[in-house]
């Protein structure tokens, strides 16, 4: 029996990391929002690794925060260990990673959702989308509930037609034994949405009491904890941290794996889905890197109120008897009790080439999607897309300009552009090497890049924005000051330089010129700078980076300008590539498939050559001139 509920502005399907951000963004912008989940207990669940952030993912979290998203705040409230990675490298690749108390992370996010106005949480499985005239009109649950809506965000993660594999054993469940969503896939196919099958996996969880950490190397958190959110006061989160533990596989482990490869669903050909290369199972590592006699394994606590430990580095889909023997060969795990076995999971997702860069479906107005459903992988990638899908669903309904972040603006821009412009063959993970302008896309300046946008959208309140402007002003003033402050050539200066192994100077240099020297820094130079104002570290850090890496930043700026020129050349929405004389067939097909917004985006599509782009430019020129001519003629007519 169908029952029609009250109407909502936005329906969000799935309450994982993408769904939570999408729902919060819409509700916070004042839209009546309903969030569907198969199980309220699984809101913001972390079904795989127990951490947030890491290389380039930490950048995403900072960006989400700078735009007014929730992930950064939530992990700041629930972390149990924190570490800044890559500190021996340049500032652009410093990346924050925190171990989460999984249960607390999930329940804290749930509480935030529950206490947000305009947001309704509903436990139900969505089985159908209601579309009329190419526009989303509502969603339908498995029990016959119909929820009219004006926009919807699909964030189904790994639940669509999910099946889990552990050797020969196959169960038709979502992650962690939760119910899979079966019917929605068919509904999507009927609507003409193309689906593909991806796969990922997770390692076993061990009972921490049965692990012998004396055979492992302790991995501690940072002494000084740095928060993810720009709104979190660093002093407020300094606390006792838990440790992770490092151990290694060995020849014995690898032998057991090799002897049982025929029982792995992947190597036996049972798995149809494409798995990620960056997150290989232990059997993949042993096969692909046969020359290596050991691999690293990290034991990571899953929370403060559980003894379970996550075995990072040993995900697997081998049968449980093989897992049993394999894990026990690892030093420290000889007598470990396995709480949950490792498994591989297969699920339906979409080639995101069906989406605009706003994450709206090209074919269905008002329908957006984010997260693993779009072919990505990882909590942070999901949250980032969820936030953008939510913002754009809201902007669309409010009749305001939608948000497309550029590759030169944010990792989020790189992520979404890659997803909608490339043929993605495996779950997509953010990597720092994918960001060509990463020198600008630092985790330390995410607020400078994105907070004005977040404020404009309405997810950053005035108070936070004022605070941000103040910080920005301080950076500009201090930058000006150190660039104009001349330190002279007196004996104290020369002595100072000698003492710090720096070349003495014959002419008076500015403080900035000294900061630029590799052996010196803003901090070291305080003795030569007695009138230095007292400023927050977040301010002086920006000043120092801007000066120290100026040469590289200027070079990158030139690349960015070139990039923008191409991005600014827009392609008419109604262009018919099949009618364009001189385009190669392959280019026609690719352009038709992706329907890029700009010449820049067109140039990034694999299979489109520079000559194709030249041809395209000429046609666009022609189209625009004809349009202009028609407009002029039309105007003339109406005047008569």
């Amino acid at each position: 029996m169908d029952f029609v509920y009250e109407a909502y502005d936005v329906a969000v399907i799935g309450a994982g990391h993408a769904g939570c951000e999408a729902a919060l963004a819409c509700a916070r912008l004042g839209l009546e929002t309903i969030l569907f989940t198969i199980s309220v207990e699984s809101i913001a669940m972390m079904p795989c690794n127990p951490n947030i952030g890491g290389s380039s993912k930490g950048h995403l979290v900072r960006e989400i925060d700078a735009l007014g998203g929730e992930m950064g705040k939530n992990i700041d409230r629930t972390f149990i260990q924190s570490k800044m990675l890559n500190t021996s490298k340049g500032p652009a690749v410093h990346s924050l990673r925190a171990q989460a108390d999984k249960a607390l992370y999930s329940s804290t996010m749930r509480k935030t959702l529950e206490n947000t106005d305009h947001l309704t949480i509903k436990q139900a499985e969505i089985t159908d989308l209601i579309i009329e005239d190419g526009q989303i009109k509502g969603v339908k649950t498995d029990t016959g509930g119909i929820y009219p809506c004006r926009a919807a965000v699909l964030a189904t993660g790994t639940y669509l037609r999910a099946r889990c594999l552990c050797g020969e054993a196959v169960t038709y469940t979502g992650p962690n034994g939760l119910k899979a969503a079966g019917a929605l896939s068919d509904s999507l196919r009927r609507l003409g949405i193309e689906l593909v099958r991806f796969k990922t996996g997770t390692p076993a969880r061990m009972d921490g009491r049965t692990i012998d950490t004396s055979k492992m190397v302790e991995q501690k958190g940072d002494r000084r904890i740095i928060p993810f959110s720009f709104t979190t006061d660093p002093d407020s989160i300094q606390k006792e941290q838990v440790s992770c533990w490092l151990t290694y596989t060995n020849e014995q482990t690898h032998q057991i794996i090799r002897d049982n490869l025929d029982r792995s669903p992947i190597y036996a050909g049972v798995i149809e889905g494409t798995g990620p290369r960056y997150c290989p199972s232990i059997e993949d590592k042993v096969v692909k890197f046969a020359g290596r006699d050991h691999h690293q394994v990290f034991l990571e606590p899953e929370g403060l109120y559980t003894n379970e430990m996550y075995v990072d580095g040993m995900s697997s889909s081998l049968p449980e008897d093989v897992q049993y023997r394999m894990y026990h060969t690892v030093p420290g795990l000889e007598h470990a009790k396995i709480v949950r076995h490792a498994y591989a999971i297969e699920y339906d997702c979409i080639p995101a080439s069906q989406l605009r860069p706003t994450l709206e479906f090209k074919k269905i107005r008002g329908l957006y999607s984010g997260g693993q459903f779009n072919g990505s992988s990882g909590y942070e990638e999901a949250a980032a897309q969820g936030l953008i899908a939510g913002i754009n669903a809201a902007m669309g309904l409010l009749g305001r300009q939608q948000l497309i972040l550029r590759r030169s603006q944010a990792y989020i821009g790189v992520l979404i552009d890659d997803l909608v412009t490339k043929d993605i063959k495996e779950p997509y993970r953010m990597m720092t090497s994918r960001a060509e302008y990463r020198l600008f896309l630092r985790q330390d300046n995410a607020d400078l890049r994105l907070t004005p946008i977040g404020h404009e959208i309405g997810l950053i309140d005035d108070e936070r924005y004022e605070h941000f402007l103040e910080k920005k002003h301080m950076i500009e003033e201090e930058d000006k000051r150190v660039r104009s402050l001349m330190i002279g050539t007196g004996e104290p200066v020369q002595r100072f330089l000698r003492e710090h192994g720096s070349q003495q100077t014959g002419k008076s240099l500015s403080l900035a010129e000294l900061i630029r020297r590799p052996e010196l820094s803003y901090d070291i130079l305080k003795d030569l700078d007695p009138d230095r104002p007292s400023l927050p570290e977040a301010v002086t850090q920006q000043v120092e980076i801007g000066i120290k890496y100026e040469g590289y930043l200027v070079r990158q700026q030139k690349q960015v300008e070139k990039f923008h020129r191409m991005e600014n050349k827009l392609i008419p929405e109604d262009i018919d590539y099949r009618q364009l004389h001189g385009l190669r067939i392959e280019a026609q097909q690719k352009l038709e498939k992706f329907r890029p917004l700009s010449i820049g985006q067109a140039g990034r599509i694999a299979g489109v050559t520079p000559a194709d782009i030249s041809v395209l430019l000429i046609h666009i020129m022609q189209i625009n001139q004809e349009k202009a001519a028609r407009a002029k003629a039309g105007k003339g007519d109406s005047g008569e």
Binding site: D312, T432, S433, G603, L617
Partner: protein, 459 residues
């Protein structure tokens, strides 16, 4: 892709003709022209002249005159491309046009893609819409042609070599990137020294390629050769012998200066471009009138000088003067008239100048084989093999290899200064991009694939 930078190309075709035109178009066309062009006395700057005017002067390469030219300045929008255009009319020798183009490229212009002037003309609304299809066909056909000729060059060892160097650079980049993405599994510890060694090795390989560019250029254009010697030393008979029946005359190119002639010939596979200084070849009595000075003038920018001396007469002031002026240049002394009674020998010449001396008889045609051997040693370290050696002969390719080398130099400096690895990869990727212009590979998925295939990443 359309860019608003400044492009340059020879627009009269790379064939010898009386006059050649090198054309520049773009925002900085006039500025770049001013950097290399100077009117007599240097008072007029092209930046200050009215549009659509022509100016006489010289083009200089770092102070050295390249050619006597006319520069035509045409400002946007009344130009072919609707951008600022400067056309430099020079003498029509291939060598002059190439050199002039190279000077412009060195000063900030970019080598135009095939059909790019026309494309710009179209994109800037200069060409009628009805011609759009023709323009598209032009772009397609010229890009195909460029591709074809590139492919031909790449089928040999060159493509293989460049791909190999590029992959080596990419491997290092992948290592660094892998360590950035997964610092807990892949460590940079101790890698910097290894990296430095790799960079130096890669630089060496690119340098070697650029070196072959010089050889390639020699093979393509010939060694600029001048014959000098006092009157009646046998210059004209030497020239006639070299150009004579036994040798093939390749082309007859009108000269670089109005009153000289260039003759091209192959000396056992090595092309020589012999500059005939105002007619050494004319009549014997005219030869007598040519002063030593005139020949030496031409010798200034020659790559090879054949110094003819008369072995049947004692050395005189003329010989001594010539020898003095040729010090430090690549000289081969031809001790002519070995068929006559000998008055001086090689040791007498050796006292004047440190150069190989070949007994020679223009009349009997002896000594040519020895000359071939010496020239080969001088220019190709003894080895020249048109079939096997890899030559980097295409200007576009040279530009790319040279830019890649610059990037590696930056990277080396960065490694030595302790610049963080993630910044070094900017230079590495730039080097890969440049070499990719030749091989048609682009960094991107390429790098990601290398990372995954070589390094065991993640959990």
């Amino acid at each position: 892709m359309y860019e608003d930078d400044t492009i340059a190309a020879v627009s009269t075709g790379m064939t010898s003709s009386g006059i050649g035109i090198v054309r520049m178009s773009g925002r900085k066309a006039v500025e770049i022209a001013d950097r290399v062009f100077s009117t007599p006395g240097g008072r007029t700057r092209l930046a200050d002249v009215p549009s659509h005017t022509v100016h006489y002067g010289h083009v200089y390469d770092e102070g050295v005159p390249v050619d006597e030219v006319m520069a035509c300045v045409m400002r946007a929008p009344r130009t072919y491309t609707r951008e600022d255009v400067v056309e430099i009319s020079c003498h029509g020798g291939i060598v002059v046009m190439r050199t002039l183009l190279a000077v412009l490229l060195k000063n900030g212009a970019r080598l135009a893609q095939p059909g790019e002037f026309t494309k710009r003309a179209f994109l800037n609304g200069r060409i009628d819409l009805s011609q759009a299809e023709a323009v598209i066909d032009l772009i397609n056909s010229s890009s195909r042609m460029a591709m074809d000729s590139s492919l031909r060059q790449l089928q040999g060892g060159l493509g293989k070599k460049i791909r190999q160097v590029r992959q080596e650079i990419l491997d290092d980049t992948a290592y660094i990137e892998a360590s950035l993405d997964d610092p807990e599994h892949i460590s940079m510890e101790g890698y910097r020294q290894e990296l430095l060694d790799h960079v130096k090795k890669e630089q060496g390989q690119l340098l070697a390629l650029l070196h072959t560019a010089r050889n390639g250029k020699i093979i393509r254009e010939g060694i600029r050769t001048v014959i000098v010697g006092k009157p009646n030393a046998g210059k004209s008979s030497l020239m006639n012998l070299l150009l004579g029946s036994r040798r093939a005359i390749v082309t007859d190119i009108a000269g670089t200066t109005r009153d000289t002639l260039e003759e091209s010939m192959l000396l056992d596979g090595i092309p020589l471009q012999i500059v005939d200084t105002a007619g050494i070849r004319r009549t014997d009595d005219l030869v007598e009138k040519i002063g030593v000075e005139k020949a030496l003038e031409a010798a200034k920018d020659a790559q090879l000088i054949l110094f003819a001396a008369d072995s049947s007469l004692p050395l005189d002031e003329n010989d001594r003067e010539i020898a003095r002026l040729l010090t430090g240049k690549k000289v081969v002394v031809l001790l002519n008239k070995s068929d006559l009674p000998q008055v001086i020998g090689p040791e007498d010449i050796k006292e004047l100048i440190d150069a190989p001396v070949i007994p020679f008889s223009a009349a009997e045609g002896t000594g040519v084989r020895y000359l071939e051997k010496i020239v080969k040693e001088m220019f190709f370290s003894g080895s020249i093999d048109n079939n096997e050696q890899i030559y980097l002969s295409n200007e576009r390719h040279q530009e790319a290899v040279s830019a890649a080398l610059d990037s590696l130099m930056n990277a080396e400096k960065g490694i030595e200064e302790g610049i963080p690895e993630d910044l070094l990869t900017i230079d590495f990727m730039e080097a890969c991009d440049q070499l990719g212009l030749i091989t048609g590979q682009s960094v991107g998925e390429d790098l990601i694939d290398t990372i995954f295939s070589r390094f065991c990443m993640g959990k």
